[in-house]
Every structure is written in structure tokens, then in C-alpha cells.
């Protein structure tokens, strides 16, 4: 039963995608419900798995009945289950937005592409084999190439080109790292590799190649340049989907590999720490200089990845717990912001701040959703971002790392700057020119952002369950032998 539940998040979307393509355009409405239904089912599965892993256990399945260590293993612990839950929620929300915005009419294959993309993302969270991870990341990337340049304008094609080349290069480096790892360790099963990099410097060097490739995918400074140049060019729903799923996948893999293979080795954390702080600072400063909604948010995305890695770089139990909490809530918050921006762009035809203004009075609900998400991102109570950042700063202070703690506070304040820029540019002030009364966001465009806004308030006021879950996830992450034993036992 459990093994079926573990395999379903990958299998179900893949099968559904094939089915949707097969029946094609004739039953569009049915296809929409299939996409939503499958994503909802994965959300339910994730919920069940969260309940089952709440005791700190790890559930694994050996595909194809090969012996443990030889077969391709899938494993779910609390961290995977949480990521599974938040990403399936984001697929649901972003797909609903895309349907309202008319993306799936512009591109008949939109639904199947989203399904395959989500299958790759879910798979990345639950695989326990590094080569399988590579394949699943490719499964995730291939539809993303198509989604990015969907209904391609010239700018989209240029962006698609950068995106494709950067990700292809990162994948190739990742593969080279896997080859070196296989050459030095003789296996790519993450369960067998547990702790290997902490003992053997050769394996650690091979692992570093993998981590660098993943850092490029997660848009960590100095490998962040591609993200702000490509994400804002995609359609709004796709940007939100990518931000919620793709970069988070890179961060997830870094956290998983570093905690399992390196056992959170203190000798190398300074590299991650330096990268994390640079990412935080450079991202937020660059965001201030942008002038369209989504390019501001894209640079801000870079900045927040720094926070995610900050907790990992502390390499303490509290740091890992804070990182897990941050990653889960942040994915939802960021998607909410991007969906607000997307709603404005879809209804008013532009995301350029100089052409917008005064939407606060016109779009009260949207403005409220934006305000909630923005304040949450900046880390103000009672939103979830406050709990997350408080956790990170507390973990840094507990570890007596005062400089990172100070940077986290400063960058948190600086985060308000680009978000305020959007507020004053788009929502406050007067309308730049009389708009036709028809230009107004529809309920279908606002509802997704509102749902995520409610999620962030709920996670902020009722933070205790997620905090407990993050603690459980950190228990497993900081003690990878539990995870490795489960993977090898099957």
C-alpha cells in the first residue's frame, strides 16, 4: 500500500498526461479536470505521507524487485512529503490561474506539459538514486523549455534560448559529476553514498561538481544571471509555476545531497554560507533596480534562495528545521506574489510600473492579497514569512554566527524596498491614464493569489504543525543514517 503511494506521484501524472494527449482537443473541459484531479490526488497522497512520516520514519520502495542497493529506490521522509504537498498545491493553483488567463487555449498541450513537469518535480523529491534524479530533472526540464516559449514572441524565444542553454550546461555538468562520483564511489545510490563524502575527499570533490550544477539550477550567485532574464518573459502562470517548482527543486537537491552524502560536513559549509549571503544581498539590491513587476520579483527570487541555503550552511538541527520551514512557506508566498503580478499583467496588458498605478482602489482584493504576500516575504508578523525568518535568525544566533544573522535581518528589511516599489508603482497613486472599464481582473485571476495569501496567514498564525513537521524533517536530515537504512532495507 505504502509502496503504491510512493510510486503514484510519478506514475499518475505521466499516465494522465499521455491520456490527455490521446483524447486531445475534443474534451478540453475533461482534460482540465484530469489535470486538476491528478494534482489534487498527489496533494492527498502527500497529506497521507506527512501523517505517516510524522513519527520521523522513512518509507522506501525498491522498484522492480531488485535487491536493495542495486535497484532504483524511491524514499519519502517528512521533508519529501512536505515538498510534495506544497508543489502539488502550487500546480493546482497555478494551473487554475492559467486556465483563467487562457494559457491552455493558446497552447493545446499546456495541460499535459504541466503534468509531465510536475511528475518530474515530484519524482525529484522522492528519488533516492542520483542517476534517477538526473533523469527526473530532465523530465522536469523538457516540458519547461516548451512552456517557457509557448506562443513565442521574439523576446520569449531569446529568453528560451538562454534558459535552454544554461540548463543544458548545468545538466551536462551534473552528469559529469555523476560520472566522477561513479568512478570514485562505484555507486550512485544515495543510500549507499550516505556519509561517503564526509570520509573520502575524492568523493567530496565529485559531489561538489553535482552541487555546483544544482546551485546553477537554483540560481545561486554567481550563477543567477539567467533566471531574471528568462522567467519574466514566460507567461505569468508559467513564471509562478517555475518559481514554485523548478528553482526549489535545485535547493531541495542541494539540501538533500549535502545532508546525506556530506552529513552536513562542517569543513565545507563556508562555501555554501558565502554563496548564500552573496545571493541574499545581490539579489535584493538588483531587484530594486528593475522596472517591471515580474523582473523585480525574479531578482527577489534569487535573494530568497540565499535564505534557503543559509539554514543549510548553519549545518545545525535548528538551521535545517528553519530551512525546511522557510522553503515550504516561501514557495507558496512567492507564487502568490507572481500570481498577483500575473493577474495585473493579464488584465491590464502590462507589467511596466511606469504604465501602471492606482490599482489599489480598483482591485481591492488583489491589492490585499499582494500586501499579505509581500509582508510575508519581507518577514512581518503574523504571516508565515515572519516565523520562517525568525527561525533562521534564531538558528544562526544559537550557532553564534552573528554575521549571517545580521545579514538576514538587513536583507529582510531591504526586501521591503522592491516590494514597496511595486506597491507605489502599481497599487498606490492615481491611474496613469483613464482605463476602459472592461480592463479589470476577473475572479478566476484573483482567486489563486487569494488562496495562497490565506495559506501564508494560516501558516503564520497556526505555525505550530508545520514547525513540528519541519523539526521532524530536520531530525531525518541531520541523522542521514536513518534515511540510508530505510533506502537500503526497502
Amino acid at each position: 500500500m505504502t509502496s503504491a503511494l510512493i510510486a503514484l506521484p510519478i506514475a499518475a501524472p505521466m499516465l494522465a498526461a499521455g491520456g490527455v494527449v490521446a483524447v486531445g482537443g475534443r474534451y478540453r473541459q475533461v482534460c482540465r479536470w484530469v489535470v486538476l484531479g491528478v494534482s489534487a490526488a498527489v496533494l492527498v497522497i502527500a497529506g497521507v505521507m506527512i501523517a505517516r512520516t510524522a513519527d520521523g520514519s522513512v518509507h522506501a520502495v525498491q522498484v522492480g524487485d531488485w535487491g536493495p542497493g542495486i535497484s532504483i529506490a524511491f524514499a519519502i521522509d517528512m521533508f519529501s512529503a512536505l515538498m510534495l504537498a506544497v508543489s502539488s498545491l502550487l500546480v493546482l493553483v497555478c494551473y487554475s490561474f492559467a486556465v483563467s488567463a487562457g494559457d491552455d487555449e493558446a497552447e493545446p498541450l499546456f495541460g499535459p506539459l504541466v503534468l509531465i513537469l510536475s511528475a518530474g518535480v515530484y519524482g525529484t523529491f522522492i528519488t533516492a538514486d542520483l542517476f534517477n534524479l538526473f533523469v527526473l530533472i530532465e523530465v522536469m526540464l523538457l516540458p519547461s523549455y516548451a512552456l517557457l516559449i509557448m506562443a513565442g514572441s521574439r523576446a520569449k524565444l531569446a529568453a528560451g534560448r538562454i534558459y535552454l542553454l544554461v540548463n543544458l550546461l548545468a545538466s551536462t555538468i551534473f552528469l559529469a559529476g555523476l560520472a566522477m562520483l561513479y568512478g570514485s564511489a562505484g555507486t550512485l545510490n544515495l543510500g549507499v553514498l550516505a556519509g561517503a563524502a564526509a570520509e573520502n575527499p575524492t568523493i567530496a570533490a565529485a559531489g561538489a561538481v553535482i552541487l555546483v550544477a544544482m546551485a546553477a539550477k537554483a540560481a545561486m550567485v554567481p550563477m543567477h544571471g539567467w533566471l531574471p532574464r528568462t522567467y519574466p518573459e514566460a507567461s505569468p502562470a508559467v513564471t509562478a509555476l517555475f518559481s514554485g517548482l523548478l528553482t526549489k527543486t535545485g535547493a531541495y537537491v542541494i539540501i538533500r545531497v549535502y545532508s546525506v552524502m556530506y552529513e552536513g560536513d562542517q569543513r565545507y559549509v563556508w562555501v555554501i554560507m558565502t554563496g548564500a549571503i552573496l545571493t541574499m544581498v545581490i539579489g535584493v539590491l538588483a531587484a530594486v533596480g528593475q522596472d517591471t513587476l515580474r523582473s523585480i520579483l525574479a531578482f527577489d527570487m534569487v535573494s530568497q534562495i540565499g535564505y534557503v541555503l543559509l539554514g543549510l550552511a548553519l549545518a545545525t538541527h535548528a538551521g535545517l528545521a528553519a530551512t525546511v520551514f522557510f522553503l515550504v512557506q516561501y514557495a507558496a508566498v512567492k507564487a502568490a506574489l507572481l500570481l498577483c503580478a500575473g493577474a495585473v499583467e493579464t488584465a491590464y496588458g502590462t507589467g511596466r510600473l511606469s504604465l501602471l498605478g492606482g490599482l489599489g482602489g480598483r482591485e481591492k482584493l488583489l491589492a490585499a492579497a499582494y500586501a499579505v504576500a509581500a509582508l510575508s516575504l519581507a518577514g512581518l508578523p503574523p504571516m508565515s514569512g515572519f516565523v520562517a525568518k525568525l527561525g533562521l535568525i534564531r538558528a544562526a544566533v544559537l550557532d553564534e554566527q552573528y554575521f549571517p544573522a545580521a545579514m538576514a535581518v538587513i536583507v529582510s528589511l531591504l526586501t521591503l524596498l522592491p516590494l514597496l516599489k511595486i506597491w507605489t508603482g502599481a497599487f498606490a497613486g492615481a491611474l496613469p491614464s483613464p482605463l476602459p472599464d472592461t480592463a479589470r481582473t476577473r475572479a478566476g485571476l484573483v482567486a489563486p493569489a487569494v488562496v495562497l495569501g490565506v495559506v501564508t496567514i494560516a501558516l503564520g498564525i497556526g505555525a505550530q504543525p508545520l514547525l513540528a513537521a519541519a523539526e521532524t524533517a530536520a531530525d531525518v536530515l541531520s541523522n542521514p543514517t536513518i534515511w540510508a537504512e530505510a533506502v537500503l532495507r526497502g
Partner: protein
């Protein structure tokens, strides 16, 4: 040693091609780089043992490690798929350029965000109306669509054009139709 040299040479060629402006060359760069990684992977399984890995006919001591071979096979398939996609992207860019470069106004702003590139295009148009192709091969990728930079591109454009037409010719292999299509767009 041979394998190490092979990987080194392939990576050198791959990186060199990848740093080129044209998507076609960059694609070939990735093909080479992909081959380099494949050789690296095969090497990681050990090159001394080469017998087929069949139980009963060969002892495990002399049998080759089948796992890297399976990995490489998967990687080849994925690289192939992405390469084809890159060629398709190239074709799309060529068509797009042809479409928008030859229209009466030649603009059709796709989104209001394109205003910048549109302005750049307009700025470049008057002087290049006779030598229209000069702006054709301009790469959207390396030039942010700001008017000053794009205006410069009209100067360098002609040079670009020459290299495009000469380098597209010596690659009459599989991607020939795409290269031709690309050339047409740039013509």
C-alpha cells in the same frame, strides 16, 4: 590515458563552440560536451574489463560494468532529444525573424514589454532599410534590447552576416535544412 585525452579534446572543442554567438555552433558545442561526458561515464566503469556482462558465459572479473553503459545510453537519448529541440528553436527563430522582418511595419508588438526592443528596431530601421538583413542576424541573446546597444548592432551586423553565411555552408549534415532556414531568415 587515451580516454582522458579524448575527454579533454572533446571538452575543449565543446567549450569553444559553446562560447560562440550562433545557436547552431553552441548546439554543436553541446553535442561535443555531451560526448565528452559519455566517454567520462564509460571510463568511470573501468576500461580494462571489456567482456560482455552475461552471467554464465563470463566471470564477473572480466565482465564490463553494465551500469555506466546503461547510464550513458540514457544520457545519449536525453541529449539527442534536447539537441533536436535546439534545432527546432533555431528554426522557430528563423521563421519568426522572417515573419516580422519582412512585414510592412515589421513589428507587431507581442506584448507591451516589447516596447524597448520595438523602439530599438525602429531606431535601427531608417538607416538599414536598404540593408535590412544587417539587423536580421542580430542575436537577441547577447544584446539586451536597449536602443544604444541595438543601434551599435547595425554597425557590427554586416560583419555578423558574413560569418553567418560562410559558416553555415560547411555543415551540410543533418541540420542542413535548419541551417538553410536560418540563413533564409538572415538573408
Amino acid at each position: 590515458m587515451t580516454a582522458a585525452l579524448t575527454v579533454g579534446i572533446l571538452v575543449t572543442g565543446g567549450v569553444y563552440l559553446m562560447l560562440q554567438r550562433e545557436l547552431l555552433r553552441a548546439t554543436f558545442g553541446f553535442v561535443l560536451l555531451g560526448h565528452a561526458v559519455n566517454v567520462l561515464f564509460v571510463t568511470s566503469g573501468g576500461l580494462e574489463r571489456r567482456s560482455p556482462a552475461l552471467l554464465g558465459s563470463n566471470s564477473p572479473e572480466v565482465a564490463a560494468d553494465p551500469l555506466p553503459q546503461a547510464f550513458v545510453l540514457t544520457a545519449i537519448v536525453i541529449t539527442f532529444g534536447v539537441t533536436v529541440y535546439l534545432f527546432a528553436l533555431m528554426r522557430a527563430e528563423g521563421l519568426h525573424r522572417k515573419h516580422h522582418g519582412e512585414g510592412p511595419e515589421g513589428e507587431g508588438p507581442d506584448t507591451p514589454d516589447d516596447l524597448d526592443s520595438l523602439a530599438a528596431e525602429r531606431a535601427g530601421r531608417p538607416e538599414s532599410s536598404s540593408t535590412e538583413p544587417a539587423t536580421g542576424p542580430r542575436d537577441g541573446i547577447d544584446l539586451p534590447p536597449n536602443s544604444p546597444v541595438a543601434a551599435d548592432a547595425t554597425g557590427t551586423g554586416t560583419k555578423d552576416d558574413v560569418t553567418t553565411s560562410t559558416t553555415d555552408r560547411p555543415t551540410p549534415g543533418a541540420p542542413a535544412p535548419r541551417a538553410k532556414g536560418d540563413g533564409e531568415g538572415a538573408r
